[in-house]
Symmetry: D2
Subunit: 221 residues, 4 copies
C-alpha cells in the first residue's frame, strides 16, 4: 500500500474522531451556534493567512517539478481569504483585530517550524495532511448542509473538483516522495502525519470549545 | 524605563499568575505529588533538548559581539540535561520514550518558528523571557523548599548566581537591542514578550493538569 | 534624500561600471557574439529559476501588506522563464543540462543566505537592487538595439511599463522600510545594497568573460 | 566502497589540483610572500567566524546523536579564531577592518544557504568536505614547512591528532548518513561534495592570486 493510504489506516482512530467532531456534525445539521461558527471563521482566516508563508517556505527546498504547483497554491489561498471576507460581509462577521487562539497559534508555529527545520518530504507531509483533513471534513458537512445556507460556499470551496484534484495531486506526490526517501526519513514523515492529524483535531475542538490559553481561562486574555 | 522592565510591568497579571501557579507553590511547600513532578521532569527534559537548536538557530543572525555568549549557552544546556538525568536516576524516574505533551510540542514549535522567521531582536526577546521566567519561578520554589529535597538541585540550578548573571546579561542585551530597533520592530518584540509569558504559564498549567491533546483526552494519545 | 536615491548616489561608481559594461554596450549595438549572448541566456535562466525560491523565502518574514505583491512576483518570474524558453526556441539555444557558472552559483547562494539569515528589510534591499539593476541595464540596451532583433523581447520585458512600475513599487517600499528600522539595521541595508550591486556587475562580467571556477580554468569544469 | 571514498575517487582531479596548489607548495617550501600569507590569514579569519553560524544552523536539523558533537565544534572554532589572533599578533598582521574577498563572500553564502535550504545529510556533506580539505591541505604543508616557522602553529592545528579524529568522525557519520538516505538525496550529496571541493580550490586560488570582485579589478574595491 502507498504511504498515504497506509498512514490514514494507521491513524484511523484520530481521523474518525476528527470527522465525527461535533463542530462538523452541528455545521452539517445546521444546528451550530452562529457565534461559534463566526469564531471559527475568525480563527481560520488567520490560519489561512499563515498557510501562505508556510507554502512559500517550502519552495526553496522543493524539487524543480514541484515549484510551479506550489507557486500556484499561493494565489489559491489568497482567493480563499477573499471567500472568507466575502462570507464575513454577508454574515456580518468582523474579521479584524482577532488574536489567534492558543491552538491556532500553536498550529501555525508547527507549520513554520516544520517548513524551516525539516526535510522537504517531511514538510510536504504536513501540507498534504492539512489539505486532506479539510477535504474529508467538509465532505462530512456537505452530506447534510442545506445548499442555501450562508456557510455553504465553504463547503463548495473545500469539496470542489478543483480542491479534490489538488488533494489527489498532493497525495500522488507524497506517495512518490515516500518511495524515494530512506527508512529513517519515512519514519519521521509518519510521525509528522500523526502530529498534523492531531493538530487538525485540536483545531475543531478549539472551534467548538473555545480558544483560551492554558492557565488564563476566565482571566486576562 | 528600559524595555524589559516596561514589559514586565505591562504583563504583571500574567507574570503573577505564573509565579502563583499551584505547581510552583506545591513544589515549594513539598506537597507536590511525586508523579506530577516526575511528569514535569520528563516534559521539561524534552523542552531543554529543544532549546539547544533554538539557540543555535539564533547564531547566524546574531551580531558579532553576541556570538560567544550564545555559543556558551549550548554546553550550559547540555549540563542542564545532565542534571535532569542525574536527578532522574536518584528519583527513579524514567526519562526515555516520552512523547511531548500538546503544550510542550507547541512551545517548542514557537521557539523554532521564531528563531527562523523573526528578526534577531524579536527572537532574542523569547530567549530572555523564557530564562527570566525560570529564574523568577524557581525563586518562588526556593522560598520554601527544604534544601534536603531530592528536587532541590533544580532550585540551585535556576537560582544560582551564575544563572542570575546570565539572565541579567540577557536583560541588558535585550534592553540595548530594543533601543536600536525601529518602533514597528519594538512593537513586535512586545508581542513576543507576551506570547512567551503565555507559553510559560501554559507550561506550568500543563505540568499541574496533564498534557492531553485537545479532542483526544480520555482516548488515544 | 530617501534611502534608495542616497545609496545609488553613494555607489555611483559601481553602478556606472555596470551600465557601461561591454556586454550591455555590445548587445545594444548588435555586435555581441551570438554564443556569448546564448551563454548569458543559459546562465540567467538558471538565475531566474533560483530567484523564485528567494522571493518565496522572503514571504514568511514579510509584513502583512507586502504579502500579496510578493505572491504575484512568483507567477511573474514563471512568465519570465517562459520568455527565455520561447526565445531559446526561436534562436536555437539549448537551455537544458547547464551548470551554473561560479559567479552565478555564488550570486544565488547570496540570495538564499540573505533571505534566511537577514532581516526582512535587509533581504528586501537585495530584491530591489537586483530588479533596479535589470531595469537600468536593459534601458541601456533599449537605447540602441534594433526592435527587430531576436533579443528585443528581453528589452521589452525589463523596460516595460509593468516592470518599471514594479521597480518603482519596490523602491517606495524599501524607502519606507528604511525609515522604520533603527540605524544599525539601516547600515546593514546599505552594505547589502553595495554587495548586490557588486554581484550584478560580476554577473555581466561573467557573461562577457566566461564563467570558469577559480583554479579550474582550462581544466576540468 | 563507502560514500566519502567513492566521492574522493570521483573528484580526484579537483582534489589533486587543490593539494598541488602553488599557495600550499610555497607555504610548505617557506617561499610564500609574507603579505600573501597575511592576506590569506585575514580572509580565513573571516571564513572561520562565518563557519560558526554554519554549524549552528545545522543543529536544528541534526539527529539527536549528532547534537553534542556539533555543539562542541563551536567552541573548537572559537579556539581556532584565537590561534589566528595570536599568530597575527606574533607576525604583526592586522586582522581588523577586513572586507571579504569575492570568493570568500561567495563561499560563506554557500555555507549558509546550504545549511538552511538543504537536508541535513546534504549540509553535513559540505561540513565534511571543508574539514577534510583543510586536513589534506595542511598535511601537504606539514611535509616541508620548518617547525620553527611562525606559520607552523596552523600546520599543528589542522594536522593534529584531535583534528584528524574530528575529520574521521565526520567521515564515518557522513558514510552512515549516505547509507540511510534515498538515491535522489545521495545524488544531491554527491553534487554538494563536488561544489565544496570547487569552493575550496577557489579559496586557495584567491589566496594566491588576490581577491578582486569580477569587473572591479583595478578599480573601486
Amino acid at each position: 500500500m502507498a504511504f498515504c493510504g497506509e498512514q490514514l489506516a494507521r491513524l484511523g482512530d484520530i481521523w474518525l474522531r476528527m470527522l465525527d467532531h461535533r463542530f462538523l456534525l452541528e455545521t452539517r445539521d445546521g444546528t451550530i451556534a452562529r457565534e461559534t461558527f463566526a469564531d471559527w471563521m475568525r480563527q481560520d482566516y488567520l490560519f489561512v493567512e499563515a498557510a501562505i508563508p508556510f507554502i512559500a517556505a517550502l519552495m526553496p527546498k522543493a524539487p524543480a517539478d514541484h515549484r510551479v504547483a506550489l507557486g500556484q497554491a499561493i494565489p489559491a489561498l489568497e482567493k480563499e481569504l477573499e471567500l472568507f471576507r466575502e462570507r464575513a460581509a454577508v454574515a456580518g462577521v468582523d474579521l479584524t483585530g482577532v488574536r489567534p487562539s492558543f491552538v491556532n497559534h500553536a498550529y501555525v508555529q508547527f507549520l513554520i517550524a516544520t517548513a524551516y527545520s525539516k526535510s522537504y518530504a517531511e514538510a510536504y507531509t504536513v501540507l498534504y495532511v492539512a489539505e486532506k483533513a479539510y477535504y474529508d471534513s467538509w465532505m462530512v458537512v456537505r452530506a447534510g448542509l442545506d445548499s442555501g445556507s450562508i456557510w455553504y460556499p465553504f463547503v463548495e470551496n473545500w469539496t470542489s473538483d478543483a480542491f479534490a484534484g489538488w488533494v489527489g495531486y498532493l497525495e500522488a506526490q507524497l506517495d512518490a516522495l515516500a518511495e524515494q526517501v530512506g527508512e529513517a526519513e519515512r519514519g519521521r514523515m509518519a510521525e509528522l502525519f500523526e502530529l498534523t492529524a492531531r493538530y487538525e483535531l485540536a483545531f475543531w475542538e478549539m472551534a467548538a470549545a473555545g480558544g483560551g490559553w492554558p492557565g488564563l481561562e476566565g482571566g486576562a486574555q
